[in-house]
Amino acid sequence: MVRFIALLVGLAFAGVLALALFGTVSGLITDPPAATAEHEFHKHPKELALASDGPFGKFDNRQVQRGLQVYKEVCAACHSLRLVAFRDLKEIGYSDAQVKAFAASYDNIPSINPDTGEVATRKGLASDRFPSPFPNDIAARAANNNALPPDLSLMTKARHDGAAYLYSLLTGYQNQPAELIKHFPDSKTPAGLHYNPYFANLNIAMPPPLTTEGQVTYLDGTKPTVDQMAKDVSAFLVWTAEPKLQARHGAGFATVLFLLIFSFLAYGAYRNVWRNMKH
C-alpha cells in the first residue's frame, strides 16, 4: 500500500515537473530572453593584490593609513563610517596621542548640552565613532539627487569580490561605449547617473570621486595617482570591515598547528589500539 501511494505521488510530482519542463523549454523557444545591456557590458572586477589577502595576509599599516586619509578627505563628504570608532585607529599604527588629536579634529559629534539639554555638538573623543555626514537618510537623499550614499564600514564584505570590486568601481568610470548605445538605445545612461561597467546595472548615482592626481597629498610621499588612491582606500575599507583579520590569521595558524599535532597523535593512538585487530 505504501509503495502504491508512493508510486502515485512520485508520478504526480514527476509529471507536473515534466509539464513545467515542457513549458520552460517551449517558452525559451517561442520567446527567447532578450539580451540586455547589463548582461553584455557588465565587467568582472579587475585583479587587486593587497597585503591582507590570503591566509598569511597582514595589513600594510602605511597603506591603510593613506586609505584613511582618502576616506576623510574625499569619501567622508557623503559616506558614513558609523561602525568604526576613533579608538580603533590604534590598530593601524597610531599612538594614543595621535588618536586623541584625530578625534578632537572633529567638532561635530552630536551631543546634548549638559546645562540646557538642547541638541548640541562637541569635540570628538577617542571613544566616539566616525560622525556621519548627514543627520539621517532623508537628508542624505535630499543632498544627493535622491540617491543614498551607503555606509562604508562593511562595504568590502557586503559586495562580491569586496576590495577588488571597490577598486574597479573607483577606477572604472568611462564614457558609455558607442557599441552599447547602438545596440541598446534604451539603455543610454540617464541624466544625473554615471556610466560604470563594474556597477551591477551599469549606471551609478555616485559621480567619479577620484578624478585627478594629487587630489590628496600623502604625508608619506607616495605619489597620489588615482589608481593609488583607489587601492589605498580599498585597503582601508578591508580593515574597517574586518578589523580583527590579523588576529584571526594568527590564531588560525596556532589552532591548525595544534590540531595537526593532535590529529597525528590521535592517528598513532588509533593505529596502536587497532594493531592486533583486523578490520
Partner: protein, 432 residues
C-alpha cells in the same frame, strides 16, 4: 539491549560503587559510548560522522549561548549588536564565525551521515526507528538554521524570512492568515525576530533530546556496518572504547582542521555578501538565495513553474516539503532485504545517480533563476522523486544481489587473506 557478550560495568573504587548503586550514570555512559557497547569491527571512516555531528551540535550550543549574552533581538539594533560582537566583544569575532561556520560544518557532517545511511541501508529493519528519529533531527536542524540565519537582520536574513514564511501563504484559503499569525505581522519585524530568537535558542536542546532517543534506538539492534550483514557473534565486534573512541578521536581532529581552516581563513566564503547590508524592507536584493545547505530544496521549489490543478507555488511548496518527508517512508519503499549497496549492483547505480542529481540540484538552487538552471532543476527534481518513489521500490523487487559474506569476520578476513567474498559465501568461514 546490546549483545550478551557486552562487558559489564565494574566500579573501580568505593566512590564509584556508591554512585553506581544510587544513580548509575557511569554505567549508562559505559554502556552507551564505553567498553559496554559492542560495535562491528569493520566500520569504515563513514561511521565517524555521527560522533562528529554530536560534536558540531556541542560547538553550536556553547558558542550560541555566549553569543546570546551579547546579541539583541530587536530590529533596530540586531544588526549593530552583531557588529558589536565582531568588533568590541573579546574574541567575539571567533564566537560568531565559529557559530556561523559551525552551522555549515554541522550540515556537512549530517549530509555525509545521511549519505552513509542511504548507501549502506542503515534505515532498514531493525533500524527504522533510528532513521525516523534521524529525519526528525534533520527537520529540526533546518528549522533552527533558518531561524538562526534571520537573527543578524541583514538583507538576506530579512528577505529569507519573507520568502520562507511566504510558503505558508500557499495554503489555500487560510494561508495568508497563517503567515501573518506566524510572523506576528504583515512582514518580518520585531515580533518575528523575537520569536525566531526564542525558538532558535530552544530547538537545539530539542535536537539534543531527540539525539538521545536516536542513540537509544540505535543501541537496541546495534550499529550497522559496511557489509550490512548482522553481527553473528563476539568475534564480529569490538568494544566501542577504546577501539572507536580512538578512531573517532582521529576523525574529530580532521573535522576540526577543516573547521579551523574555514573559520580562520575563509569565514565568509559560505555566507552571502548581502547579509552585511542591514535589513531594508524597501529594497529587494537582486537574487534571494538561502544558505548553501538549503539549495537542493530551493531548486525543487523553484522548478515548479506551471499551474496544473493546483497553483505552481503550492506545487513547489508541497514538493519541497515532500522531498524531505518522503524520507520517513524510505524503510518501506526499499523492500530489498540486502542493506549494503556494495551487494546491490542496480540500486548502487541508482544511488550514485541520485548523489549527482542532488549535487546538480544544489548548484541550481544557489544560482540565479536563469532558464538553464530552471530546466536542470526540473529534470533533476523529477529524478529525485522518481528515485525514491518509483525507481528504488521497483529495483528492490527485481534486483539480484551479489553474494553476501556469511559474517562480518569472514568479510574482514577475506579482505586481508585475499579470498574473494563470492567464494567464501559458499564455503565455511576461515578460522579466525
Amino acid at each position: 539491549m546490546s549483545f550478551p557478550w557486552a562487558k559489564q560495568y565494574q566500579p573501580q573504587n568505593s566512590l564509584m560503587k556508591w554512585v553506581d548503586e544510587r544513580l548509575p550514570v557511569p554505567r549508562l555512559v559505559y554502556n552507551a559510548v564505553g567498553a559496554g557497547y559492542p560495535v562491528p569491527r569493520n566500520l569504515n571512516y563513514f561511521w565517524n560522522f555521527g560522533v562528529l555531528a554530536g560534536a558540531a551540535l556541542g560547538i553550536q550550543i556553547i558558542t550560541g549561548i555566549v553569543l546570546a549574552m551579547h546579541y539583541a533581538a530587536n530590529g533596530a539594533i540586531a544588526f549593530d549588536s552583531v557588529e558589536h560582537i565582531m568588533r568590541d566583544v573579546n574574541a567575539g569575532w571567533l564566537l560568531r564565525y565559529a557559530h556561523a561556520n559551525g552551522a555549515s560544518m554541522f550540515f556537512i557532517v549530517v549530509y555525509l551521515h545521511i549519505f552513509r545511511g542511504l548507501y549502506y541501508g542503515s534505515y532498514k529493519a531493525p533500524r527504522e526507528m533510528v532513521w525516523l528519529l534521524g529525519v526528525v533531527i534533520f527537520l529540526l536542524m533546518m528549522a533552527t538554521a533558518f531561524m538562526g540565519y534571520v537573527l543578524p537582520w541583514g538583507q538576506m536574513s530579512f528577505w529569507g524570512a519573507q520568502v520562507i514564511t511566504g510558503f505558508f501563504s500557499a495554503i489555500p484559503g487560510v494561508g495568508e492568515t497563517i503567515r501573518v499569525w506566524l510572523l506576528g505581522g504583515y512582514a518580518p519585524d520585531d515580533a518575528a525576530l523575537n520569536r525566531f530568537f526564542s525558538l532558535h535558542y530552544l530547538l537545539p536542546f530539542v535536537i539534543a533530546g531527540v539525539i538521545i532517543l536516536h542513540i537509544w534506538a540505535l543501541h537496541i539492534p546495534g550499529s550497522n556496518n559496511p557489509t550490512g550483514v548482522e553481527v553473528k557473534g563476539e568475534q564480529d565486534t569490538v568494544p566501542f572504547h577504546p577501539y572507536y573512541t580512538a578512531k573517532d578521536g582521529f576523525g574529530l581532529g580532521i573535522f576540526l582542521i577543516v573547521f579551523a581552516v574555514l573559520l580562520f581563513f575563509y569565514p565568509n566564503y559560505l555566507g552571502h555578501p548581502d547579509n552585511y547590508i542591514p535589513a531594508n524592507p524597501l529594497s529587494t536584493p537582486a537574487h534571494i538565495v538561502p544558505e548553501w545547505y538549503f539549495w537542493p530544496f530551493y531548486a525543487i521549489l523553484r522548478a515548479f513553474t506551471v499551474d496544473f490543478i493546483l497553483p505552481a507555488k503550492l506545487w513547489g511548496v508541497l514538493a519541497m516539503f515532500g522531498s524531505i518527508l518522503l524520507l520517513f517512508f524510505l524503510p518501506w519503499l526499499d523492500s530489498s532485504p540486502v542493506r549494503s549497496n556494495n551487494y546491490r549492483p542496480k540500486a548502487r547505480i541508482a544511488f550514485w545517480v541520485l548523489v549527482a542529481d542532488v549535487l546538480i540540484l544544489g548548484y541550481c538552487g544557489g544560482s540565479a533563476a536563469d532558464p538553464v538552471y530552471v530546466i536542470l532543476s526540473q529534470i533533476c527534481g523529477a529524478y529525485y522523486f522518481a528515485h525514491f518513489l518509483i525507481i528504488l521500490p521497483m529495483i528492490s523487487r527485481s534486483e539480484r544481489p551479489t553474494p553476501l559474506p556469511n559474517s562480518i569476520t569472514e568479510a574482514v578476513l577475506a579482505k586481508h587473506g585475499g579470498t574473494s567474498p563470492a567464494h567464501t559465501a559458499l564455503t565455511p568461514a576461515a578460522s579466525s
